[in-house]
Structure formats: C-alpha cells, structure tokens
C-alpha cells in the first residue's frame, strides 16, 4: 500500500491498562505502544486471562486507562462525546443480541442510529449505506429473514454488516469466531480481510485462532505475561514471539509450518 494512504487511525502511547479501586491500581498490562493504519486487518492474540478484553474495553472507552494515552483519528479518546465516538468506532461484541425478532435489515439499520433524527427515520442515503453493507457481506438474499431463523455464522455476518453500516473508520470485534466451525471461522476472517482492503477501514479483532490470524492479518498484537508487541506476522515469527506465548513444555511453535504443536 502506498505510504500516503496510511492514515493513523488508532495510536496508543505508553498505555497502561487494568483495574482501579479507591485504594490501589492493578495493572494488567503496561507500556502498550500500538499504531493502527487505515486498510489494515489486525489480530489481537494472547492466552486466556492475559488482558485482551481489558485492552479492547479500554480502547473502546468502556473503562479508562491507568496511564498513557489513546488517540483515535489523532484526537484523544477522552475528548470524544458518545455520538462522536459512535461515528468513529463501531463494535461487534460477544454477547448475543437481545431481540431476535428483528429482521436482518432492521438490525443492520440500527447501525445508522448515530446519524438518524430523533425518531430514527432512515433517509435515502441511510438506506443506500445499509444496502452496501448487505452486499459487502453477501446478506442481500436473507435481508427479510428474522434473526431467530439464522445460524450462528449468519448472525455473526449480520453483526459485522451492522458495524459496517455505522460507517466508522475503525471496527473492533471481540472474538468474532467463537461458536463457529472451522469453515466459518476462516470465512469470517477472510471476510474481514476483504472488507479491510475494499473499504480501507481499520479492523481490529481479538481471537484465539492464532494459526488463521498469522495467515490473514496485516499486523498482530501479541499479549504475553511481560510484554505487548505489535508487528507483521512474518517479523513476529522471525523474532520468536510465539514461542513464549504458551508454556514451552506443553505447546511449541513450529516455524516451518507456522503452527502450534502439542508436545506428546
């Protein structure tokens, strides 16, 4: 990609994340310096409990950082109002949608909420954006189906389409591939890769599918006990970052096949 297209969408500087009570601060991870550009697909990987969710919650302003700064579109995160942030950043969460009685179209249309008037009427422009989101995710055929009729894989695509309709430069997904079979895991991640390329959006997702992420992502953020690194998958493999991800006497990373092996 050409250098001038690479706008910095998200940047953190010496970010420290964790939990804060009145008495003390409990840091989960610190010194996080990441920089995400437009058109990039970024995977966030790490063992369970290492702080992936905490990092995502901090980046999406659900909880405040302990230290350091976050800039989205070169503007400090804490200066965003609710609506401004909704126009800059959209989410796909692990929780299931409360009302499955919505049709696919209606659900995706809710992505336009930050832009619509007080009663939520859709303008022609809104409907065009929704239809584009439907086409990009191949959902046009089932747009009148109710959400309770859909499979998990289809539902995940609908949630991605909803995030697209929100028309933000940055999309963050929390474990978008859980509950899905091998094929649909690969399918969803391929779709994200294609969307990042076609729409020039920045897409950040957390995942346990490290094998797939290595193959598809432009960049990986790897969280381990002591350090958070972010680089291209190739360089991370060369540096041996994945070797320290899990206990060495149990699982090792095989550089020839780019995959993890269980030690028998």
């Amino acid at each position: 990609m050409k250098e001038e297209n690479q706008h910095t969408i998200l940047k953190t500087h010496n970010l420290s994340i964790g939990y804060q009570t009145k008495k003390e601060k409990t840091a989960v991870a610190s010194n996080i310096n990441i920089e995400l550009h437009s058109g990039e697909l970024i995977g966030l990987v790490g063992a369970n409990g290492i702080g992936k969710s905490t990092l995502l919650r901090t980046l999406t302003n659900v909880q405040s950082p302990l230290d350091g700064s976050i800039h989205i579109n070169e503007k400090p995160l804490e200066t965003y109002s609710n609506i401004e942030l909704a126009k800059a950043l959209s989410l796909v969460l692990t929780e299931s949608v409360m009302s499955k009685n919505l049709s696919v179209f209606e659900l995706i249309a809710l992505g336009r909420q930050p832009y619509t008037n007080w009663v939520g009427n859709l303008t022609e422009a809104d409907i065009n954006i929704i239809n584009t989101a439907l086409n990009e995710t191949n959902l046009s055929d089932i747009k009148h189906k109710k959400c309770y009729e859909l499979s998990d894989g289809q539902l995940q695509k609908v949630m991605i389409a909803r995030a697209l309709a929100q028309d933000t430069k940055l999309i963050i997904l929390d474990e978008p591939t859980t509950h899905l079979d091998m094929y649909h895991k690969a399918y969803i991640l391929r779709l994200l890769q294609k969307l990042a390329k076609d729409t020039n959006k920045t897409i950040l997702f957390s995942s346990h599918e490290i094998d797939l992420a290595i193959q598809l992502c432009d960049k990986l953020i790897v969280m381990s006990e002591d350090i958070v690194v972010s680089d291209t998958p190739k360089k991370l493999i060369e540096r041996g970052t994945f070797d320290s991800l899990f206990p060495k006497d149990f699982i090792t990373f095989d550089k020839t096949t780019n995959s993890f092996k269980i030690i028998q």
Partner: protein, 321 residues
C-alpha cells in the same frame, strides 16, 4: 375501536340504542346515563388500556424481560400500601378520622403518594447500581416489603375495612367524574409524549445495553426518561382506577404477535389502539349487559387476556420478543 367504543356505551344494565347514543353525543337530546356515566367510563377504559399497555411495553424492552409489566417498579404495591393505610390503618387513628379519610379523593391521593414513595425508594437504591436487571429485582423486593406491611394491616383490620380494601383491589373504571377524567388524561398524555420521544432509544436497546452504548446512546438519560414515562402512566392510572391487572403485561405481547415486529415506531401506536380496544371489550363484558350486576374488571381482564396470550403463543410456537 369506534365500534367497541359505541358498543361499550350501548351495553349495560340499561341497554341504549346506537341511535340514542349518536343523538346524545351530537347534543340533539340529553341522556343522563350517557353523559354522566357511560361516556366517562368509556373514555377511562381507553386511557387506562392504552396507558397500561404502553408502560408494560416500555418495561419489557427496558428490562429485556417478557414478564415485566407496568408494576415491576413497585408502583401498584406502593399504591396498595397507601390505600391499605388509609382504609385499614384508620382504626389506629380513631373512627372519626376514618370517615374523613375514606372519601374518593383521599384514596386517589393515598395511592399516588404510596406509589410515589415506593418508586422513589426503588429509584434511590437503583441509582447506586449500574445493572438494569438489579433495578427489576429491587422493585420486586420492595413489592414484597409492602405486601408484608399490607398483610399485617389486614390482620388487625375489621371485616368491613378489609372488604373496602379488597374492593379497591378489584379495580374500577367507573365512578370517574369529568374533572377526574381531565386530570387522568392530561397526565397520561404527558406520559405518552415521553414514550414517543423514547422510540429511538427503545429500538436501540433491542440490541442490548452494550451495543446501545456503542451507538452513542446515553443509557442513563434514556433509562430515566423511560422510567418517568412509566411512572406517570401506571401511577396515575392506578391512583384513579385501582391496580388493573394483566393488561400491561398482555397488550404488548398480543401486539407483537399480531404485527410480528419489535420496532417501537409500529408498536407504540399499535399498543395504544389494542390497549384501548381490549379494555373496552373487557369492560363491556364486566358490566354484564342486561343485568344489574357488575363483575370486577380485574377478573375479566385476566380471564380474557391470559387465554389470548396462550393461544397466540401456541399458534406461533415461538415467543417473539
């Protein structure tokens, strides 16, 4: 709805023909029963039906719970506590006060005051918790506390007082003068305006609170608006008509099943219409056409409403929400 409206006015212990109704409404002839009795009652049924339906819908969406109704915030339990204190607690203050207190307006004031105080307590405790589900449980707990106090009061009450309290609990759409109707309808109108203003927030909440937040919705503000609308509607209606059961729970379900949508832009007007129609029908049945008896409106709403909801669910085989 118009048909139900006229049928409701027409049917009763004295049957009045449609022609007479039109004449009376258009001012051609005077009809005492229509002007002072049937017409206010029909209007009350319309307001109570739509108001309770709306507040039930608001609560079901806010709490993501199909079993929520207008009274989950402790409104009816607060009202019953207020009325119980006035009716049955009066023996504690002496007999002369009892006569003074037992008038119509004192019941209205007592139940408004009761629901307001219980609601205030629920809100104060709820402000400390972030989880919407916790508000639901806090409301239920306050309901049990008030129920306990009411049962203590009824233990010491005389049979006559107990009967008066139970009669209030049956609910009643009649007995409202035009002045009372004016107060009821203007407060309910404010409640419905607030509900309409919450349509967008309600639709966003269908995705769940976290998604709603990510779409830029101010959760606290919207939650407050929805709760105020519900309190205004359910609170005033309970004050004037007693704790009308079931309508608030059933109407939103019936409407959702019939229209097969969760979009509040459709649901809110539809619930107003259905609530009015169904309560008019229930009231027409309750006044037992061509007889001198009245059945308690609460019995009718449950007897008719519950089977309708069961039938709709069985037919569709799916709880849409």
């Amino acid at each position: 709805m118009l048909f139900c409206f006229f049928a409701n006015i027409s049917l009763g212990s004295v049957s009045i023909s449609f022609k007479d109704i039109f004449n009376a409404l258009l001012g051609i002839s005077d009809n005492y029963i229509i002007q002072n009795y049937r017409l206010p009652k029909a209007f009350t049924a319309i307001i109570v039906g739509s108001g309770l339906g709306i507040s039930g819908l608001l609560m079901q969406t806010l709490f993501r719970n199909p079993l929520a109704g207008p009274f989950v915030l402790g409104i009816s339990s607060g009202a019953s506590l207020g009325v119980a204190i006035v009716v049955m607690g009066s023996s504690l203050f002496g007999g002369s006060v009892a006569l003074l207190l037992a008038s119509k307006w004192s019941l209205v004031i007592a139940s408004s005051l009761g629901s307001f105080l219980v609601l205030l307590a629920v809100m104060l405790v709820s402000a400390k918790v972030r989880d919407t589900m916790a508000i639901l449980i806090i409301g239920l707990m306050f309901a049990s506390i008030t129920a306990a106090i009411v049962s203590v009061l009824s233990y010491f009450a005389s049979a006559e007082q107990l009967q008066q309290y139970i009669f209030w609990g049956f609910g009643s759409l009649g007995n409202l003068s035009w002045n009372e109707l004016l107060v009821l309808s203007s407060i309910c109108f404010i409640g419905i305006v607030l509900s309409v203003a919450s349509i967008k927030a309600l639709n966003t909440l269908l995705l769940g609170e976290n998604y709603a937040k990510s779409l830029g919705l101010n959760i606290k503000k919207s939650r407050m608006l929805i709760i105020i609308a519900t309190s205004l509607l359910a609170g005033t209606i309970t004050a004037f008509a007693g704790p009308i059961a079931f309508i608030g729970l059933a109407i939103p379900h019936i409407t959702r099943q019939v229209f097969n949508t969760s979009n509040h832009k459709v649901l809110i007007p539809a619930v107003v219409l259905f609530g009015a129609i169904i309560l008019l029908i229930c009231d027409s049945i309750a006044q037992l056409p061509a007889s001198d008896y009245f059945l308690p409106i609460n019995a009718i709403t449950s007897i008719i409403g519950a089977p309708v909801v069961i039938w709709l669910l069985v037919r569709k085989r799916k709880m849409v929400f």
